[in-house]
């Protein structure tokens, strides 16, 4: 088999099945102020939330599309052809047995209940617009840890939600944060009390099932002083010929000395737009880490951000992106050093194959008053074939001369000699490519919980797999 053939081989997407649609509530396609009010009414929300949603809707409606990134792909989004709310189960169950059968089977196939038993502190499983299953380990509940879906969070802890909601990502931040604020549904609400360490990760899994679906989960995590938590999320969707839209907002607050790690393995099918705003604020000596893997979707635009507000705080954004046929992963990181003695590290790895396009877009800034900051940015791209593309858009704005900045970028191609070397050790061309690709991603997978790393390697091997039988 010629090298080019192996490289052109298209991987198969494994999570592309869909269940029959058994909606209990399904809104008509399209968006208006009435749709926004209906969503809020359906959820019996406090008035402040309804009004916030409506304001956000008008902001979204009047705000133009971004004038950067992949504008032609963005222009193809038909907001009138999206369903903004769909519910397939009327309750969030605590026992998988009570979840409707089709939905339960889907999560079974995705391995969620199994993972829950083995290595998670809690799980929330969202299907379309609502969480269908939710659990948390009793000992954590007893220590005062709150882990709920966002809607339950708002119902049970309205004051806490009101205090922090939109405090990190205002709805005016960008067009899609406005959209999410207007129509959000589901997502996670987490509060970790002072000094509590949640040892095992909690997981959220997001599944879109319907065609032309919009999923707009909203996540808010507050880690109180000296506490720690690791949150992991995964997502998949069926493969359809028409597009779906996923637009989430995630806000993290790490109070003094707290540590939040947020890991994502994004594996949407290639017909999903993934336009997400993720940002955290780190107070004194707090630490926020984003570990972000982007494998799927049609167009992803996502730049996990950290505002280093407190002295001695630390931020890390470690990300990988795989862009295959018809895909554009426009990903990166943003870090703002507002306080002295803050440190940050960005590691970005991207692979493009079969004409896919990967972009790294990064912004690191140091404010004039922030003394002795340390910044380290490394972005590497690996291009597997001709016609695939990789771009880097790094920005550094350093307004304090005491800052120590390091920046490295590399773009490399898989060389025939590397492949030949591995083949001479008994590995087929595809195995050789998978070894090179997995190796390239290794600094990232090392940071993931083992189960996720295995999953990611499996996904990558699948992407490398040829169609030659």
């Amino acid at each position: 088999m010629a090298a080019t053939e192996a490289r052109e081989a298209v991987g198969e997407y494994e999570a592309g099945w869909h269940d029959p649609e058994n909606a209990t509530v399904r809104f008509d396609f399209g968006l208006s102020e009435q749709v926004v009010r209906d969503i809020s009414a359906l959820k019996n929300e406090p008035e402040w939330m309804t009004e916030l949603r409506v304001k956000a809707f008008h902001h979204f409606d009047s705000r133009p599309m971004p004038t950067w990134g992949n504008m032609s792909m963005l222009e193809e989004i038909d907001f009138d052809a999206i369903c903004y709310y769909l519910r397939s189960s009327d309750a969030t169950e605590k026992d998988w047995e009570d979840v409707p059968e089709d939905i339960r089977n889907t999560f079974d196939k995705l391995g969620i209940p199994e993972a829950e038993q083995k290595w998670l502190s809690g799980v929330t499983a969202q299907y379309e617009s609502e969480a269908v299953y939710h659990s948390i380990r009793e000992d954590l509940e007893q220590q005062g840890v709150i882990f709920l879906d966002m809607d339950s969070g708002l119902r049970e802890y309205p004051e806490l939600v009101k205090e922090w909601f939109c405090s990190v990502v205002p709805y005016q931040d960008n067009k899609f944060s406005a959209l999410n604020t207007a129509v959000w549904s589901g997502g996670s609400f987490i509060y970790v009390p002072k000094g509590v360490h949640v040892e095992m990760p909690v997981q959220a899994y997001f599944r879109i099932n319907a065609k032309n679906m919009g999923q707009f989960e909203r996540t808010l995590i507050i880690a109180d002083e000296g506490s720690s938590i690791h949150y992991v999320e995964g997502c998949t969707a069926p493969t359809y010929s028409t597009d779906s839209l996923h637009s989430a907002v995630v806000e993290l607050i790490a109070l003094p000395g707290a540590h939040i790690r947020y890991s994502t393995v994004q594996n949407w099918s290639a017909n999903v737009y993934n336009l997400v705003t993720k940002r955290g604020i780190a107070h004194e000596n707090a630490k926020i880490e984003w570990v972000d893997g982007n494998i799927g979707s049609k167009l992803t635009m996502k730049y996990p951000a950290v505002i280093l507000k407190g002295e001695g705080s630390h931020a890390e954004v470690i990300s990988v992106a795989y862009s295959g046929k018809g895909q554009h992963q426009d990903a990166g990181a943003k870090i703002h050093h507002l306080a002295s003695n803050t440190t940050s590290k960005i590691l970005s790895k991207s692979i493009s194959k079969d004409g896919g396009r990967g972009s790294y877009r990064g912004m690191v800034s140091v404010s004039p008053k922030a003394e002795n900051c340390k910044l380290n940015v490394v972005c590497d791209a690996l291009i597997l074939d001709e016609g695939s593309r990789s771009d880097t858009y790094p920005t550094m704005e350093v307004a304090n001369p005491s800052a120590r900045c390091e920046h490295e970028a590399s773009v490399s191609k898989v060389s025939d000699e590397q492949v030949f070397y591995l083949m001479s050790r008994g590995h087929s061309e595809e195995e050789a490519l998978a070894m090179i690709v997995n190796g390239f991603f290794e600094p990232f997978t090392r940071e993931l919980p083992m189960e996720y790393a295995v999953e990611l390697n499996k996904l990558m091997a699948l992407e490398m797999e040829g169609s030659i039988g």
Binding site: S415, S424, R425, G426, G439
Partner: protein, 256 residues
């Protein structure tokens, strides 16, 4: 009893790259248990011969055959040849960042010798013994394949793979280059351990005779401009060391 088939048999091999001929009729036979050396200057076609036996895709074979144990190699992919028992110790081993040595060794042994050979206490013992023999530290297993290795480490790693993969035919391309005398002694131990007293064969490619002091070849062949112009015993290597290649070039030209 039928005589043993040669481990490697090359007949009338002509090959080149694009339209340039590099090998112009090579004949070579290595019987089981023998170590042969090919010597020659840079550009004489030594590395090309090694690459063609392994199946490098850049070369066009215009004539001739290459057989391993009586089986044609030229139609096989490189990994198939490896699984049949061909091993090449590269002159310039490639780095694969992120691929851990331990993991890679296990996968390669599994691919070539089967899953069972790559598992359990026996594999761990073979690995440990080979590493001791080659004076390789345990921490090596956690490093990335050839990534940031010194020249000597790369060569030791090639020989470690040779010892674990147990090929029928080991080709060693300039294994001595970039090694100090201790390094040569160490990798020679590994080569002897892998070939001597077995039915395997080895082909050592070099332009110095230094390594041949430690790995006694049964035969030495001199390659000039893509042809073997002289073959002899180990004493030929010493003669080349003393006299250089000029006299053979003149001889070759006169006979052409």
């Amino acid at each position: 009893m039928a005589p043993d088939k040669p481990v490697l048999e090359i007949s009338n091999l002509h090959a080149g790259i694009d339209d340039t001929a590099i090998l112009r009729g090579i004949n070579l036979e290595i019987p089981p248990g023998e170590i042969h050396a090919i010597m020659g200057r840079n550009g004489s076609g030594k590395t090309t011969t090694a690459n063609i036996i392994m199946g490098h895709p850049d070369f066009d074979i215009t004539d001739g055959t290459v057989q391993l144990d009586g089986e044609d190699l030229l139609d096989m992919e490189p990994w198939e040849r490896a699984r049949e028992g061909v091993f090449l110790s590269f002159q310039y081993p490639q780095a694969v960042p992120g691929l851990q040595v331990g993991n890679f060794l296990r996968k390669s042994v599994a691919a070539i010798r089967g899953e069972d050979a790559a598992k359990g206490a026996e594999f761990r013992k073979t690995l440990k013994d080979a590493m001791t023999e080659l004076d390789i530290d345990k921490s090596f297993l956690g490093r990335y394949v050839n990534d940031g290795f010194s020249g000597g480490e790369k060569k030791r790693f090639e020989i470690l793979q040779l010892m674990l993969l147990q090929p029928k035919l080991a080709i060693l391309d300039e294994t001595d280059s970039g090694l100090d005398i201790d390094g040569i002694r160490t990798v020679s131990k590994g080569i002897n351990a892998a070939v001597r007293g077995t039915d395997s064969g080895a082909l050592i490619i070099t332009h110095y005779s230094r390594i041949l002091e430690h790995v006694q070849p049964d035969k030495v062949h001199v390659l000039i401009k893509g042809k073997i112009v002289k073959s002899g015993g180990p004493e030929l290597a010493l003669e080349l060391e003393e006299r250089g290649y000029d006299w053979l070039e003149t001889e070759a030209e006169n006979s052409a």
